[in-house]
Subunit: 196 residues, 2 copies
Amino acid sequence: MGRPRTFDQPAALAAALDQFWRRGYEATSVRDLAGAMSITGASLYNAFGDKRSLFRRCLHAYVDTYARKRIAELDASDDPIRGIRAFFDDLVKASLRDRRGCLLVNSAMEVAPWDAEFATLIEQCLLEIEDGFYRALKRLPVSGPRQSPGNERSTARLMLSTVMALRVLARAGGEEERLRSIARSAVALAEGGPHL
Amino acid sequence: MGRPRTFDQPAALAAALDQFWRRGYEATSVRDLAGAMSITGASLYNAFGDKRSLFRRCLHAYVDTYARKRIAELDASDDPIRGIRAFFDDLVKASLRDRRGCLLVNSAMEVAPWDAEFATLIEQCLLEIEDGFYRALKRLPVSGPRQSPGNERSTARLMLSTVMALRVLARAGGEEERLRSIARSAVALAEGGPHL
DNA sequence: GTAGTTTTAGATCGACCGCTATAAAACGCG
DNA sequence: CGCGTTTTATAGCGGTCGATCTAAAACTAC
């Protein structure tokens, strides 16, 4: 057994995730990462491998920490409509708090076209979110305010589309009222259809 | 008067646009640009200024050549529903033909967070597209299949959101049926609301 | 033809890129 | 204690970045 690590590995990973999230993959240099993680470049390569491997771990950490957490909350809600509303309320609030957008959407634009592995990873996670919406829509009561049955898949895709658009606009600096308006429309899609 | 230019400036600009569109701003080097434009680096700097200035001209060229053209076609259509359908049909077809996505959306993610000038330019053009949808929705007949009046602004924003999501998914390699499904839903929003 | 001006081409600048080699420092174990 | 092993810190590798310099080439005006 040799010398033990002196830095907090999970904290360093979180710092790396923060950098990739804010600046993207290419624009984040290994020196930027090492600085943000408060370690030296050699320690970085020793503990996490090369830049791409570190990014993969950050992407997985993001999916586990952020994306799947939202889906789980949606599944756990008693009233699917309230769950969907909470989902979008929280998404807008988070998008206004910091303007980094969503690492998955950011990477879908920057990394996915050039990296098949990350492309499938991102695609699968987006599908998980869509399926979360789908399950929530399926749980809606048949009577009461409800969109026409048999279209849950299309509606779920449209709701995922609004999530992605919200994230793009948030990163580009879109105004608060614009984000809130889109989120309201997304919720209205689930609530009853035309009453946008 | 000195020595005249030997290269076709509009063609060179189009080649630069192609590079920025495909690879993004940061990942496109001045040498990449010069190679694609079939000129030397010195000629590039002489004719177009620095890399950022060249990107600005490409962005303007993109807006004029691609984005505003689609809006104009939408405005020119006799039947707004048919115009909207044609808009999304063409958008999906173009997005499947090449996978570069939309330069405006790409730049909204990569450039806008770090460049206020480009951020406002992109924001304004996205607003133009939203307004195009808004005008088309306002032209819908009061009788007949139609979404509830007074919600044209929200619906227009939702349609712009689907455009952005389509472009993100297209760049990330989304499957054809997924894109077509989202486009159908966007058209259905204008057609009558709940019949997704 | 000559002077003046602009565009070419190619070399080159300092800075930064991802990554690694080297060696000192810090541990467990005998 | 010294030995083996791992992490640390630093320097540096070849390569590319955006941008510029020098000078030859190509044109107009006179």
